[in-house]
């Protein structure tokens, strides 16, 4: 009863139910209008009259495009879709780590994790209603402003619309149950965690269904390329870019949830003088940032996979992305990602100041900083530079004869790997900052040995799998001649070397030289993955270009095995190590909290920018190669125009989420405090 009363009091969640109901009502309308599958010929005919129909605008059935209150339809859809995506990313990302935190709380018995998971879920319930409202608004504006396009999309996907709505209900109800049963089920944590897992399953289903619509627009399949008629709904759903987009968004959602939660904690930290609250929000900011960085580390690889698959589907879109009209947006992207990584490292280094014993590792910071800056210099250097005519004359062309090499993909991949490993190193220093005398690994018993050996076997298996793949790879499968086989050997051999490094690392750890094992493993990964394969990439670019993606995967395998194995050693190495002193939570610098906010703002800008790039790559196509955009807004926006809209979206989102959090927690907490007093 108490639970029910609380449910009735929570206006945000009631609103979410209302929106969900409205959403379910909209979808059949879309689907109904989509029942008649428009043929390509029909569409072309409509395209021909698009301009005139838009001007006359008397017959709603013949309108392809509409405007609302004189606003640019594309900008309206652009803003609403991005806002919906950002709120969606938050409400899909946060449940994932809320449940993980709850599991950690149960496993460790540390109730702080449980409290934190509950606090994250509080933010979630407040943001859920807005996400739903924006979803409804997006459906409305799409139906209203782009009726022909929605008719076509509905014709292809209307079955999945219903499933989507049902999943939405599922997630909403699972969320209510999860949130409101927190107290009631505190003695049945297993069941409560199961509820959380169910909530996440619904959330992921929602994401993958919506992803299929977005990816279909870029890489349509299951439809006749000439007429646009649907041949297979399944094939349309499982289109080529669907899975790469799923992986990328899944990781990005976790990062996004983490940075928004960390920024929330930072604002709370800055706004309170209470030492206990300061300590709590300092810790919350740390956890949010940790979660964000843990998933951010893998995002460049997921992005690379998505990019390669875009190129594979259409070299026009691929060229457009990295070398064409969108290439300069990637320089902006590099700046924003640079801010994320530098910000994350800065946060860790600042955090070390409140850890007794950290002064032993301060000396490393300048070297890590130097490596990070060097890598970002490489990452920022474009292949094709903006040059003055005088500079062109001195250099004898459009390219700087030396610096041009830094603009190629091989250099970028090497730089990203080095950045990730440097950030990981910062994290290791943070972790061991207050640790004194270690508990020898040889004395930790058989369980530790077995677990570490199992981790090593997983890493070895991963490396062996890919090395074996490269050793047996047929050049013909890549349309390469037999003579190109020789180029596959070098990365394969480096993978075998990496396997040897893991074995040596395991042996050294068993002999109580775990730290040395970590340094060897990380050093060799830098040597092989960054330097050797970074340089070798240039050879591959000219001799067997199609193999370049395998070089990137080899680098990823080396890095991943290093991260997993070194982390595992670290856990055992510093488990039960004597502490020099406890972390002084709450004594974090003010600058570090502003950095958390900056990281959040950068991520919001980054998501808005990447959303623009992904969608903009289609240029003047609603559905690439199938349904052309004949509206007046079909042009590719300039950098300045894009910057204005992306900036506006970021401002609106940050304003909205701040308001929603204030409603959900700030206002609520004041009410509660008032009631208590």
């Amino acid at each position: 009863m108490n639970c029910l009363r609380r449910f009735r009091r929570n206006k945000a969640l009631n609103f979410a139910v209302l929106i969900a109901l409205c959403f379910l009502l909209i979808l059949p309308v879309v689907a109904q209008s989509a029942n008649a599958h428009p043929s390509r010929a029909g569409m072309l005919q409509e395209e021909a009259v698009a301009d005139t129909s838009a001007v006359v605008g008397t017959d709603p059935l013949s309108e392809d495009y509409r405007t609302v209150w004189g606003m640019d339809s594309r900008v309206v859809v652009w803003i609403v879709a991005e806002l919906h995506l950002m709120f969606g990313a938050f409400v899909l990302g946060v449940p994932l780590f809320a449940v993980i935190l709850e599991v950690v709380a149960v496993k460790t018995g540390d109730l702080r994790y449980d409290k934190l998971a509950h606090e994250f879920t509080t933010l979630l319930s407040a943001a859920f209603a807005t996400t739903a409202a924006l979803g409804g608004l997006q459906a409305f504006v799409l139906i209203g402003l782009y009726p022909t396009f929605m008719k076509y999309l509905g014709g292809v996907f209307h079955q999945s619309f219903y499933i989507y709505a049902l999943m939405f209900f599922g997630e909403a109800f699972a969320l209510y149950l999860y949130y409101y049963s927190w107290e009631r089920m505190k003695n049945h944590k297993g069941w409560h965690i199961t509820l959380g897992v169910i909530m996440n399953i619904f959330g992921i289903m929602i994401m993958v269904i919506a992803n299929s619509w977005a990816s279909f627009m870029m890489s349509p399949s299951g439809v006749d390329p000439q007429s646009g008629n649907v041949l297979s709904h399944w094939e349309a759903f499982f289109n080529p870019l669907w899975n790469p987009l799923n992986i990328h968004r899944f990781l990005a959602n976790i990062t996004f949830g983490g940075v928004v939660a960390a920024a929330y904690a930072a604002v709370k930290f800055l706004g309170t003088d209470d030492p206990d609250e300061k300590a709590h929000y300092d810790w919350m900011g740390y956890v949010g940032n940790f979660v964000a960085i843990a998933s951010l580390i893998f995002l460049p690889f997921a992005g690379y996979y998505l990019g390669r698959e875009i190129y594979s589907f259409s070299s026009v879109m691929g060229n457009n992305m990295m070398g064409g009209a969108f290439s300069w947006t990637f320089i902006v992207q590099a700046i924003l990602i640079g801010m994320l990584f530098i910000g994350a490292n800065f946060y860790l280094w600042s955090g070390m100041q409140r850890i007794p014993g950290a002064e032993r590792y301060q000396g490393y910071i300048k070297y890590i900083n130097f490596v990070l800056l060097l890598c970002f210099a490489v990452w920022l250097t474009p292949h094709n530079l903006p040059l003055s005519p005088e500079e062109q004359i001195v250099m004898g062309g459009q390219y700087h004869p030396v610096l041009k090499y830094l603009g190629l993909m091989s250099a970028k991949n090497a730089a990203v790997n080095f950045i990730i490993i440097s950030t990981f190193f910062s994290f290791l220093l943070y972790r061991r900052a207050n640790k004194g005398e270690l508990w020898k690994f040889s004395q930790q018993g058989n369980q530790a040995k077995i677990v570490l050996a199992a981790v090593a076997v997983i890493c070895l298996g991963m490396l062996f799998w890919y090395a074996e793949f490269l050793f047996t790879l047929e050049p013909e499968s890549m349309d390469l001649g037999e003579e190109k086989r020789q180029y596959f050997m070098f990365p394969a051999i480096l993978l075998v070397v990496q396997m040897a490094v893991v074995v040596v690392g395991l042996f050294l750890t068993y002999k109580d030289r775990g730290e040395l094992a970590q340094y060897i493993c990380m050093g060799m990964t830098v040597f092989s993955g960054v330097f050797c394969l970074g340089v070798y990439g240039y050879v591959i670019m000219t001799q067997a270009n199609a193999f370049l993606r395998n070089i990137a995967v080899s680098q990823f395998m080396m890095l991943l095995s290093c991260l997993i194995f070194v982390s595992a050693i670290d856990i055992f190495l510093f488990r039960k190590a004597k502490e020099i002193g406890g972390i002084a939570w709450g004594r974090m610098t003010t600058a570090s909290q502003y950095i958390l906010v900056l990281i959040c703002v950068s991520t919001v800008l980054l998501i808005a920018l990447m959303g623009f790039i992904r969608s903009g790559l289609r240029e003047d196509w609603h559905v690439y190669g199938i349904l052309r955009d004949t509206s007046a807004s079909a042009f590719t926006p300039s950098m300045a125009y894009m910057g204005q809209v992306v900036g506006l979206i970021a401002i609106i989102f940050l304003g909205m989420i701040s308001f929603v959090f204030w409603l959900g927690t700030g206002l609520g907490s004041k009410e509660r405090k008032g009631a208590i007093s």
């Binding site: 070299s315 290439s327 003055s388 030396v402 199609a546």
Partner: protein, 267 residues
């Protein structure tokens, strides 16, 4: 007896020296290093845009390093605060000199900034720095084209490449050079030099149909954002048949010693 540790230089000055050192390295040393690496006839300076980016990055890096440690940051701020507010204890013998230097800097700094702004914004006779798109979008009509000779027998492919080499030397060599290094006898006449095909960032990064489009439609076929007015590439479609262009493509990749990018397969 314990040795007294000498107070070191303030971190602000260390940071300043680091940034000036980086600027001097990029300005004075790097051009000669590049000349040596590239085997160029003249030093190769770092372009202005890159110099700006690198120095901003160096500034950010220094600030990040200093600000990550509260003690260092306080030390870093000292000279700045002193510069703006003046010394708090005005008893030292060199106080007068210090004050003169301070005033000189406070006057000179805004003047320097003003001079820079004036210099940047005043009209000049030189053409503006252009932002060029490297690989403009290939029209979809060209995207799916394939070199017909790649499907032919080995003998036919060799014959076509041989003919392509003759066609290349006859039509392309004057600008792109005998060895496709962008250094033909006419290359020096152009402001934007002809592409160097041996560079891994040029034809090796594009599929053959892209090269076909560029040869067939030349500079006038480039979209507006790729600044077609910068390129002197003729419209070879007016003088050569499609078959001849495909043969030239075979030859130019072979001459440059690079492979065309293969259309990739979805995984």
């Amino acid at each position: 007896m314990q040795k007294q540790k000498k107070p070191g230089m303030n971190i602000f000055y260390k940071s300043l020296i680091t940034i000036i050192g980086i600027a001097l390295f990029l300005e004075l040393f790097f051009p000669y290093l590049s000349q040596w690496i590239a085997g160029s006839e003249n030093p190769l300076p770092v372009p202005g845009t890159l110099m700006f980016m690198y120095l901003v990055l160096a500034g950010i890096g220094t600030l990040v390093y200093v600000a990550s440690d509260e003690t260092k940051f306080q030390e870093f701020k000292e000279p700045l605060v002193e510069m703006l507010r003046g010394r708090e204890q005005k008893e030292g013998p060199d106080d007068k000199t210090h004050n003169h230097v301070r005033m000189a800097i406070l006057v000179a700094f805004p003047l320097l900034v003003g001079w820079y702004v004036f210099n940047q914004s005043s009209p000049s006779l030189s053409a503006p720095t252009s932002l060029r798109i490297q690989h403009p979008t290939i029209p979809q009509t060209y995207e799916k084209l394939k070199n017909p000779f790649r499907e032919a027998s080995v003998e036919e492919l060799e014959q076509a490449t041989l003919e392509g080499r003759v066609l290349y030397q006859k039509n392309c060599r004057p600008c792109h050079g005998t060895k496709a290094a962008g250094d033909g006898p006419m290359a020096r006449a152009f402001r934007l030099k002809p592409a160097n095909f041996t560079d891994p960032g040029t034809i090796a990064t594009v599929v053959e149909s892209y090269a076909f489009w560029r040869i067939k439609t030349g500079a006038p076929g480039l979209p507006r954002e790729a600044s077609p007015w910068d390129s002197a590439m003729p419209v070879w479609g007016d003088d050569l048949t499609d078959e001849e262009i495909w043969k030239i493509i075979l030859a130019e990749y072979q001459t440059a010693g690079v492979d065309p990018r293969k259309p990739e397969k979805l995984e």
